[in-house]
């Protein structure tokens, strides 16, 4: 019994109605960011709270791109996030594969260890890391950031990859091993291509995480040449007069890569996330 046409219509309009509220709430802050970034300075405060500005201008974007270190920060962020995503995904693939396919001594403790590292507030480790990295010459360098981001991404990325590997039947690599492949070859040639969506999702997740990280970026790297985007953005707000327009324009630009990534990966996240995040 499915109920009458009328109750069904009511049910579906409620369904869409509630979802529309979600959509509006999700998009409104982002809309505001874009709106302020394209409002010219002279009406920014006068019409500060209007839903639509009476004039549009891209002057803030010109300021950000032309008259600041923005492009340098952007380049740094791309390098750091890109390499972090690649490195943590490769390492997480290897360890996730081990968790998925082998029962081995110490597995329980290794998994536990990975979970525990997620429990500590980052602040507690920054000072020790700062002194370790200082002696290694890794402060004020993009390499240092890449290493630290990779390490912090690995636990979750490993669980994510493990859940994707769990979805691939063991038969496949057994068939490959009988066909004459070593396990490693079977992993690279058979299993990895089949988990491609999972690999993309994991890489996207790591990229997003590294893209927005600010604590390490701020405290490990003080020189502008090794600063990432979040630090650059923060610089705007610590100046004597806050220039909201350019700051928001920079914010919008910062959002573009993560939004693109997110639209690509969100479908796979639903497939992989619970298992990965929750199994532990």
């Amino acid at each position: 019994m499915r109920g009458s046409f009328q109750t069904r219509t009511i049910k579906w309009s409620m369904h869409y109605g509630v979802l529309l509220v979600y959509v509006a709430v999700a998009l409104f802050p982002l809309y505001w960011l874009v709106k302020v970034s394209i409002t010219p300075d002279d009406i920014l405060y006068k019409q500060g709270t209007d839903l639509l500005p009476s004039k549009l201008s891209f002057e803030h974007y010109a300021t950000v791109i032309g008259k600041s270190d923005f492009l340098l920060f952007f380049r740094n962020s791309i390098i750091v996030s890109g390499i972090t995503a690649i490195a943590s995904t490769i390492l997480a693939m290897a360890s996730g594969y081990a968790f998925s396919r082998f029962a081995f001594k110490g597995k329980f403790w290794i998994v536990g260890l990975m979970l525990v590292t997620q429990m500590f507030p980052l602040v507690i480790v920054i000072t020790p890391i700062f002194s370790i990295f200082g002696t290694l010459g890794l402060t004020n360098s993009l390499t240092g950031l890449i290493i630290i981001y990779t390490a912090f991404n690995i636990p979750f990325a490993t669980f994510l990859m493990q859940s994707f590997f769990d979805g691939i039947p063991k038969d496949l690599e057994e068939a490959a091993m009988i066909d004459g492949a070593t396990r490693f070859k079977a992993f690279v040639q058979i299993i990895a291509p089949l988990t491609l969506p999972g690999i993309v999702a994991t890489a996207g997740f790591c990229f997003t995480g590294a893209w927005g990280e600010i604590l390490f970026a701020l405290l490990l790297n003080s020189s502008a040449s090794a600063s990432t985007f979040p630090v650059g953005l923060l610089l705007y707000s610590t100046r004597a007069t806050i220039e909201y327009g350019p700051m928001m324009a920079a914010g919008v630009l910062a959002l573009i890569p993560v939004c693109i990534f997110f639209f690509l990966i969100q479908r796979y996240l639903v497939q992989g996330l619970t298992a990965g995040a929750v199994k532990g």
Binding site: A175, A176, M177, I178, D179, T182
Partner: protein
């Protein structure tokens, strides 16, 4: 092509024994079927031969070589999985050539081998398709093709037909058999379907509970089962088992069901002290006469015409049995009939151990 020897193989998962000491010698070129109920350890044994599973004790030899320590890839065997395990991202051609590529076979030799295997299995037109674009039967063929291109020492099959419908299964049964005749490769074939076991094998290995129950040619197992498990597992409809009492008369015995005398027959070499035995008779060996003439009195309980034959369920002194007749008899439910059983067609079993009680010839 090579022989396979399984010597004293045991396998435990933790404290649970799954194989409890298996010995088996398979000749070069032989087609051996491992049959048994679900969970009896057939797949485990096959995977141990393939090297996918470590064994807890014992030895596996392929040809003259002990292979316990060898990785699957070094054993030179091919395996067809129940799930087929085709590589989903590779075309049929690539699936079949993967093993040869790993061996660094020259490209033209690969192409030749793949073409030959494809022709044999009727895969010519499908070479460029991905597995997901194939029907179940076609996938099965590709899995077979992947195994035969390599020309391995032995083939291992793990229930390769169980995902096919009845008609296709019958056809593939025939084709695998034919392929074996052409290639003559040593094959170990796992199934829980006793019809497959009967029709395909040179020898059947009947397993139960991690122990080999009997090894022999199909008809030998059918006519001469070593115990009640084999007797009941092989044959469909299954053998009738009648709880009977044996009364000794010199070197003969008389079998009684309740107060009804079933038949007299030569005495087996031993009898349980209380005379309780189980008498096994195949349904097609029981004769049926419509009226209460000479023979054992019974009543009809149910009649199932299948076309080829009619299956009659009858009741003898409260015990059910099935029989088979190809004559089109007019039978009513509850009609009294009389049954004839020849002493030579009866197998006696010890009701406690399940072992066969042999009648000396």
């Amino acid at each position: 092509m090579a022989s396979i020897a399984i010597n004293g193989v045991r396998k435990d998962y933790g404290a649970v024994p799954v194989l409890k000491g298996v010995d088996l010698a398979i000749d070069s070129g032989e087609f051996v079927v491992l049959v048994g109920p679900s969970g009896c350890g057939k797949s485990t044994l096959l995977r141990i031969i393939a090297g996918l599973e470590d064994l807890s004790a014992g030895e596996i030899r392929i040809g003259d070589m002990r292979v316990n320590e060898l990785a699957p890839r070094d054993r030179d065997i091919a395996m067809v999985f129940q799930s087929y395990a085709l590589y989903p991202h590779m075309s049929v051609r690539d699936n079949m050539s993967y093993s040869l590529k790993l061996k660094r076979t020259p490209a033209e030799r690969i192409a030749e081998a793949v073409k030959r295997a494809g022709d044999k299995l009727g895969l010519e037109a499908l070479q460029d398709r991905k597995p997901r674009a194939l029907s179940g039967g076609q996938r099965q063929r590709v899995a077979m093709g992947r195994a035969i291109v390599r020309n391995p020492k032995a083939f291992l099959f793990d229930e390769p037909l169980s995902n096919l419908d009845a008609r296709l299964r019958e056809q593939m049964r025939f084709e695998i058999r034919k392929l074996h005749r052409d290639i003559g490769a040593t094959s170990v074939y796992v199934t829980h379907d006793q019809i497959e076991a009967m029709t395909m094998s040179d020898r059947i290995v009947a397993m139960n509970g991690g122990i080999i129950q009997q090894v022999g040619a199909p008809l030998e197992l059918y006519d001469n089962p070593a115990n009640i498990f084999v007797a009941g597992f092989i044959g469909s409809p299954a053998m009738n088992f009648i709880k009977a009492r044996a009364v000794r008369e010199d070197n003969r015995i008389a079998l009684y069901v309740g107060a009804t005398k079933l038949l007299g027959m030569p005495a087996p070499d031993r009898l349980p002290d209380n005379g309780e035995v189980i008498a096994g008779v195949r349904p097609e060996r029981i004769g049926l006469l419509p009226s209460s003439e000479a023979g054992v009195a019974a009543t009809v309980e149910l009649v199932e015409p299948t076309g080829v034959a009619t299956v009659v369920h009858a009741d003898i002194a409260g015990q059910q049995l099935k029989l088979f007749t190809t004559e089109r008899l007019q039978l009513d439910v509850h009609q009294p009939v009389s049954l004839t059983i020849r002493p030579a067609d009866v197998c006696l079993f010890d009701p406690i151990s399940g072992e066969r009680l042999r009648v000396p010839r």
